[in-house]
Symmetry: C2
Subunit: 462 residues, 2 copies
């Protein structure tokens, strides 16, 4: 039996007991430098595959390469845990026989997860390494659309006729050689393999042998279709606190099972992607990306931003004579734009999340829009008062104070409306609101901010 | 047995099968208007508690109040699923006896989750509604620090002596009246109640009665301490694909169990909070917040932003004479600041997430900083070339083009360094990097952007 292990990794000197300790890195770097293969094996052997993957990700390219040359313990689980960019690098460096051995020990859904993002040459190499039944299972899964329930499910299922009792279930499981590593329910099916309910193992275990399974079935159960989107599946797991759920094909026959750990991973990925998209970073960004990989993730978004910044500058250029007459306008105008941009980002972030969690729908969108407008008005008035005071104290001009105050109110109301309205509109049009809203919203608040402030100034001050 | 239900909720007219259908809202609003209590019961009865909570959140205040007056089915699960702000509202409106009945049916960890954010008067009302053992369990959990494993765990545990075999385990579970609703492992303990390993139910079920449980224990298992932070627990569940894990006290005695569904909820909340913090929105923001609640979540952050915007304006004011001489500077300067702000936000978002997932540590921080600098340099040169061209074409001034190009390179390099360095520094200082980085980084990129652009212009163009 395993020893009691109080902490996932040995304590480092510093505070975070859940991060890999610095000492581990020092030791592994030392072992790499002295090309001490047995010591590397000894250091990595007790670590969880996920920690080994993290360690590989945190080494630099050269050290990682040396380590992979020395270490013989690479297995399928470590490959599964690696960031996509590194996985390709590692698979390229791994001898074919070692790759084959590593992949063969994985379950079919893990192999699918492993190969789906690989280039086709690498994908072929991995598939060739599998035995025929394994290869067929993986190829079948890859035939489902990307990000579908079919790709996420495992095909290893524990299913039973719906008229069995507890004793039959236990006898069946004791006799079965090929049970999945982890399972939490048995699925009851009818003669046409249509799922009819499921029973948790806890209930099977805590009832007498004569008890019919159907009497132990969960009150409600949900099935997914193979082509349901993974994001929707993860949402349903989180919303309804599911532990596992059957997946059916077009004929409503049971073809697989999705478990909560897979759903948890998808949920985590989706939130991560929302964060990265909102910040204008490619969703595949990883801290382990190469310099060139990082450039590729970021440059396109900066290019879009440049375009919108130029649009804002064109608006400013319409008022070049006004600015030449009153330079204070150039000094104050970024404040109006910045406040609008920030207020807009606040609204759009709340909107994007509420859309993702199905909390912003046709039934409350108008009420929420009205609320955003009132909030913008209120905040606008507060900061208008502050800026009016700043304008008067700093530049001694009540007129300038009045202009910036008015522009502030206008821009914060517009920010609220645009921040909430644009994501909703994009969602209706089938565009991911996290992806594009930020650019649109800040363009709106920049343009409106500069136009309102400089336009009013041109009317009032000149 | 339950019927097959292909979709979590009945299909609406539109695309999203996982959102509550509009028809449901139309029906419920109609029933509220006609004060048709039986129809409300009939509509809500088949819905999952989480869906009823969503529906309540999406109604406006008056409709919700009418519905709560008419509907008699409110139970503990619906209360558990409600947003915090609404939960307080609903608990205030609920008659004491109905509240008592609703709470009594919940497990202790759900009651803890329900009451921990309530005001103390409401908390007392809920606690009074519990029977003595339930109240003691909840009060004990509330004695642990907020956001600790002790608050998250359930105290209902299935534990056995480490020397039992499969048959003894099954007989014990069949005889036990008070098993938890959901459990996935049995925990093996020694005579001092110290956890020694755990066995999945699937393994118990698939082995003969004589098999010692010890031989079926998972290879590695992790325990948490009652005072471990929930975020760390969720991280470990996700990192190591845990399904459930024992929680121990200072004497290493087993006191509870945390299951993956609780960890999934925490993980979801943590990601949500990061998103909201990065956007400068209070972490308790909900789409169902009242207008005043929304103002309170957003105004403080806008006030901080106003301060930083004023700092940037002070920098601009240092160059008022330069701007008066060359108005084109006022037109172009927001571009430099905006590009810097965006590049900084990209870096800081990647940094904040990498810190949260323990992927950015002492072992790779210098390498990542160097990468950010090179990426900033590369992107800076690309956009410098574009802006030089714009400067020349738009304003016919190669000197102006040169100035904006140089400022762009400087600001994007600084953005990369500040975007990655500031979150790391804040984390070292024990400040949540998601909370404060954004303000610092954009202040840096604004100040550097304006200073570099206008300062160079003052030197070159005047």
């Amino acid at each position: 039996m395993s020893e009691l292990q109080d902490h996932p990794v040995p304590d480092g000197e510093e505070g975070d007991e859940f991060a890999l300790p610095q000492k581990l890195f020092d030791e592994i770097l030392d072992a790499i430098e002295t090309a001490d293969a047995p010591r590397i094996d000894a250091i990595l052997e007790p670590l969880h595959a996920a920690d080994i993957a993290d360690l590989l990700e945190q080494l630099d390219f050269r050290d990682r390469r040396s380590l992979l040359g020395l270490w013989t313990g690479m297995d399928g689980e470590v490959l599964s845990e690696l960031d996509d960019n590194l996985r390709e690098e590692v698979i390229n460096e791994l001898p074919a026989d070692q790759l084959a051995e590593a992949v063969r020990e994985l379950e079919s859904d893990d192999v699918v997860d492993l190969v789906e993002d690989l280039e086709s040459a690498q994908q072929d190499a991995v598939l060739r390494a599998l035995d025929a039944p394994g290869r067929i299972a993986v190829e079948k899964a890859l035939a489902y659309p990307e990000y579908s329930a079919g790709r996420l499910m495992q095909v290893e299922i524990v299913r039973m006729p719906e008229d069995w009792n507890v004793g039959q279930a236990i006898d069946f499981m004791r006799g079965e050689e090929n049970l999945p590593d982890q399972f939490y329910h048995v699925v009851l099916v009818d003669v046409r393999l249509k799922p009819r309910g499921y029973v948790t193992l806890g209930r099977v275990l805590s009832h007498p042998r004569e008890m019919p399974l159907k009497d132990l079935a969960e009150e409600s159960f949900r099935t997914f279709h193979v082509e349901d989107k993974q994001g929707d599946v993860a949402y349903a797991f989180n919303q309804y606190h599911l532990i596992s759920a059957p997946v059916v094909d077009d004929e409503e026959r049971l073809v697989g099972v999705i478990t909560i750990d897979d759903a948890m991973e998808v949920l985590d990925e989706e939130a991560e992607e929302d964060i990265l998209r909102l910040a204008g970073v490619g969703i595949e960004s990883e801290i382990s990306d190469s310099t060139w990989g990082t450039v590729k993730q970021r440059l396109p978004w900066l290019a879009v931003n440049l375009l919108t910044a130029i649009i804002a500058s064109v608006v400013i250029s319409l008022f070049d004579e006004t600015i030449a007459a009153v330079v204070a306008l150039a000094i104050l105008m970024p404040i109006v734009a910045s406040m609008g941009g920030n207020a807009g980002t606040q609204s759009l972030t709340v909107a994007v999340r509420a859309i993702a969690t199905r909390d912003l729908t046709g039934s409350n969108v108008w009420r929420v829009l009205r609320r955003e407008m009132i909030v913008g008005l209120f905040n606008g008035v507060v900061f208008a008062a502050v800026m009016a005071a700043v304008g008067i104290v700093w530049f001694g001009s009540p007129a300038l104070g009045g202009v910036i105050a008015a522009a502030m109110v206008i821009n914060l109301v517009v920010a609220g409306l645009a921040g909430m309205g644009i994501p909703v509109l994009l969602d209706k049009l089938g565009v991911d609101p996290a992806l594009a809203s930020g650019t649109f919203v800040t363009t709106v608040t920049d343009v409106v901010g500069f136009f309102a402030f400089l336009g009013l100034a041109a009317m009032v001050l000149l």
